[in-house]
Symmetry: C2
DNA sequence: AGGCATTGCTGGAACGTTCCAGCAAGAGCG
DNA sequence: CGCTCTTGCTGGAACGTTCCAGCAATGCCT
């Protein structure tokens, strides 16, 4: 005698099974479990129990089809910087928050986002640190679903439905103030070109701070995803010579090891001879030779905030165009101990 | 006069629209576009053109419902180590490969995987570096969908449908051979407890190598996601004293900065006084003071391989229980230059 | 020429859910 | 009592796709 495969693998229990077992119609079962509709409290309780006993799990596909929504949101990260653990933490913050609202988070493959079928696969999109020269961003914005950006998008085209922003200008000012207080007189800044809101804000803030304080900040442009080698070269040229920089702020945290290496090679002691800080906290800043002072962007919470805003937009509890602020914190460490 | 919202937002074009426009039945349209079924080549071509013109995009939900498959796979990463850029690269390798087969990749929130509705949300699962004490892994394995693990799972329960493994023993042997050749006589190994296949293999291999070469390898246990501080403490105690270690291999790449810091503090010059290597290559190893020799696990390709196997299993073109091998490469850098 | 397989297409029925109109029973009110 | 309003429930129709049975037309074989 053969085993019935279907019986063994016990094909999943449907809403109709629950309704039948509870002795009600599928509509009532649906209403009872879904929360909406008019159902007496006793019936609702009963149906809930039956569903639990039977191990009922709503079929996502059917629900999506009927509701014309997918229950998932997409996440796009800067293609150049997929390696930074900063984004890893951000992604996990977002996925946790999305989960709390019953949303799945699908990772968008760099290079394949081609707006095409996106709208039928996700209800909304998270676009983190959109760079103006990322060719996918316009497609994503035009995909026909709500989009929340992490930091503003400086390019044109369809406007995003929402954004979560950091006050990057303020954080750099805080960093520069801190360095000045610790004795820096010739600070330098390693920063990517103005292709992202973040970098652009840092550049502007550096200029403003220079004028206000009467202390010139030397600005050196580096790639968005700076390698240690590039950072080392840039730093070496900045700190060389008698009037070289006495403090280096690097915007990308990936640049930290390079900056430290250049300092070591030049015989400068980080923390006293040379102050070092980063605009993004991360493994590189926390775990280096001397630990490096950095702006903690709290990536996990940032991710949560982005997901929360998108979720609110989808639920209609946030107005399109909403902009929310995300707080940063300065982490002072050995690398800016000061000349004392 | 009011604009018709529906008309403006042009509700998406369905298969029936295509069929009507092409003058055929929906079945024929479906067959033509889906590739299967009996359709003449001319009709097929015609329907394809019409579909393209109309901008037809198949509705994922409807397809999922009918086919009883979701078109998505889930990715689970070790909850303790979500920060390592190693996993970031792996994830993006997987997402790219999945995309090539038309599969979406959904990131599984740590702590929320509770096997529950998983089976209706994904067609299969990728479980990377499953640790025996990760409470979610058994649920994932029992979720009722094919599971591919990256490295073997040492716990019991439902067996995974496939695995992609590295020969970690061989890579550690290569590393130790290399160190011995460069003059190391008292090597030490910083490695997590045997809760993961990777760490367990490294521990066994270290023992075997010791016996074979007659050179004792001091093994020190560290957490799976080692922090620099922990690594520094462990290293300090290992290299202290006259008969302290003359080479340190750290398994997790996150430990690298800590090892280097301890070396610096102890006045040992890395690369000559003290050789340093890591079992995982990553930003920490590539970007540190002296660059650190490491085993490149090629995470992106690893991710691709895992996704490829799962995809093959889903398509029936790989046998359940299949195990595939993933190749590593030794990256020799300054940190093991040798005593010369 | 008659039988039979093959080709190319069609209509209808699923898949499991949600939404809408509707209906019986009771409650409230003049 | 007759009228309306509300409550609690029901059945049917969608959502867009794929699959299956079937059917006319054609081609092949004896």
């Amino acid at each position: 005698m053969r085993l019935d495969f279907r019986a063994v693998t016990s094909r999943s229990v449907t809403l109709i099974d629950v309704a039948r077992a509870a002795g009600v119609s599928k509509s009532t079962a649906s209403n009872a479990l879904g929360g909406s509709g008019r159902v007496s409290e006793t019936t609702r309780e009963h149906i809930r129990n039956v569903a639990r006993e039977l191990g009922y799990r709503p079929n996502t596909a059917a629900r999506s089809l009927r509701r014309a929504s997918t229950g998932a949101i997409g996440l796009h990260l800067p293609r150049t910087a997929t390696r930074l653990d900063y984004y890893m933490n951000l992604a996990f913050g977002a996925v946790e928050r999305a989960r709390e609202d019953g949303l799945d988070l699908v990772l968008l493959a760099p290079g394949t986002a081609g707006g095409a079928g996106l709208a039928s696969r996700v209800d909304g999109l998270l676009v983190i640190d959109p760079e103006v020269d990322d060719p996918e961003v316009p497609d994503l914005l035009a995909a026909g679903v709500p989009v929340v950006t992490g930091e503003r998008y400086l390019g044109g085209g369809v406007a995003p439905s929402g954004a979560v922003v950091c006050d990057n200008a303020a954080s750099l000012v805080a960093l520069l103030d801190h360095l000045a207080e610790r004795g820096a007189r010739r600070p330098a800044l390693l920063v990517p070109g103005p292709g992202s809101d973040w970098a652009a804000a840092l550049r502007t803030a550096a200029g403003a701070w220079s004028r206000r304080e009467g202390i010139e900040v030397t600005v050196r442009t580096v790639p968005f995803a700076t390698t240690p080698v590039e950072a080392e070269a840039a730093t070496a040229s900045l700190i060389g010579g008698a009037s070289g920089a006495d403090a280096v702020v690097c915007a990308p945290d990936g640049a930290v090891p390079g900056v430290l290496a250049a300092a070591a090679r030049a015989g400068r002691r980080v923390g006293s001879d040379l102050l070092v800080a980063a605009c993004v906290d991360g493994a590189a800043a926390r775990g280096s030779g001397p630990q490096v002072t950095a702006v903690d962007l709290r990536p996990s919470e940032y991710g949560r905030a982005c997901a929360a805003l998108l979720s609110d937009l989808l639920a209609g509890s946030a107005e399109p165009g909403a902009v929310r602020r995300h707080e940063w914190a300065l982490k002072v460490r050995e690398s800016t101990a000061g000349r004392a």
